[in-house]
């Protein structure tokens, strides 16, 4: 496969950026979680590119752990979201104001 390492890493970087923009600019908490998923996925892609570039299998092993982290993050995130929705009737982060002094 004639693909420079930089091109594959660029794809991962752009994916990460899209996730970061989604997290930073969205108020709908679902779309914030979507952004976190995109970022984790981009990190996994970068790990796999590194594993192939330096022929180190540890990169692929870490992606396995990354999958577990993503699953745990989604479970807790969605549970918190349902909890917040039950208390405030909204998934808009701008309406979570009960800590306001």
């Amino acid at each position: 496969m004639i693909v420079p390492c930089g091109h594959a890493l660029s794809i991962a970087a752009l994916l990460f950026l899209m996730g970061a923009v989604s997290v930073a600019t969205r108020r709908n908490l679902f779309l914030v979680l979507v952004g976190v998923e995109v970022m984790l996925n981009a990190a996994g892609l970068a790990f796999i590119v590194g594993a192939l570039r330096w022929h180190q299998l540890e990169g692929q092993a870490f992606v396995l752990f990354l999958l577990a982290v993503a699953a745990a993050e989604v479970a807790v995130g969605l549970a918190l979201l349902v909890y917040g929705h039950r208390r405030t009737g909204s998934v808009d982060s701008g309406r979570y104001t009960s800590l306001r002094g």
């Binding site: 496969m1 420079p4 923009v21 989604s22 996994g44 396995l64 549970a79």
Partner: protein
């Protein structure tokens, strides 16, 4: 350019387009469905980059498990249809900032990284090798992962139960 290289660029362009569509949707259901497309494409990239096991896990766990959980909760909660982004009328500024940051990132990766032009060779990891590594030197980490998966299970149960119906069982 070889056929595999061509496939890599085609799938990469598809993944970028699907992700860009996913993060710009207003409706969470649309976003999640586009994200599933993006993850399936990423699984193709994983397979091309020599990680067939992880490609399969990406399809089964990410696209099949995590995203379906997402879809489930989106449809159970029914979020209000229109929630604005942060700031008023800042869409153009955000787009300009994101494009600038993207150009900077790609420029840095391509220009500043001395290894950027190193060509990735075709390779494939057998499940046996990956398993021997993960369950050999990293066996303790696997146990840590099982703990990590247990904690959110308990947390989600605690957060998810209805306080009105469980009576006095408060934490």
């Amino acid at each position: 350019m070889t056929l595999l290289g061509l496939a890599f660029y085609a799938i990469g362009a598809f993944v970028l387009a699907a992700t860009a569509t996913a993060v710009t949707r207003r409706d969470p259901v649309h976003a999640v469905v586009w994200l599933i497309a993006s993850f399936l494409g990423t699984a193709g990239l994983f397979a091309l980059l020599g990680a067939p096991v992880l490609a399969a896990l990406q399809v089964v766990l990410y696209a099949g498990g995590i995203m379906v959980l997402f879809l489930f909760v989106v449809m159970a909660v029914r979020p209000e249809p229109r929630i604005a982004v942060i700031g008023r009328g800042g869409g153009r500024a955000v787009l300009a900032l994101a494009l600038g940051a993207g150009a900077l990132l790609v420029g840095l990766v391509l220009a500043a990284d001395p290894d950027a032009h190193a060509v990735l060779s075709t390779g494939s990891t057998s499940p046996r090798d990956l398993g021997a590594l993960v369950f050999g030197p990293y066996a303790l980490a696997v146990e840590g992962v099982s703990l990590l998966l247990f904690v959110p299970l308990v947390g989600a149960l605690c957060l998810g139960r209805d306080p009105g119906r469980t009576g006095g069982g408060r934490l």
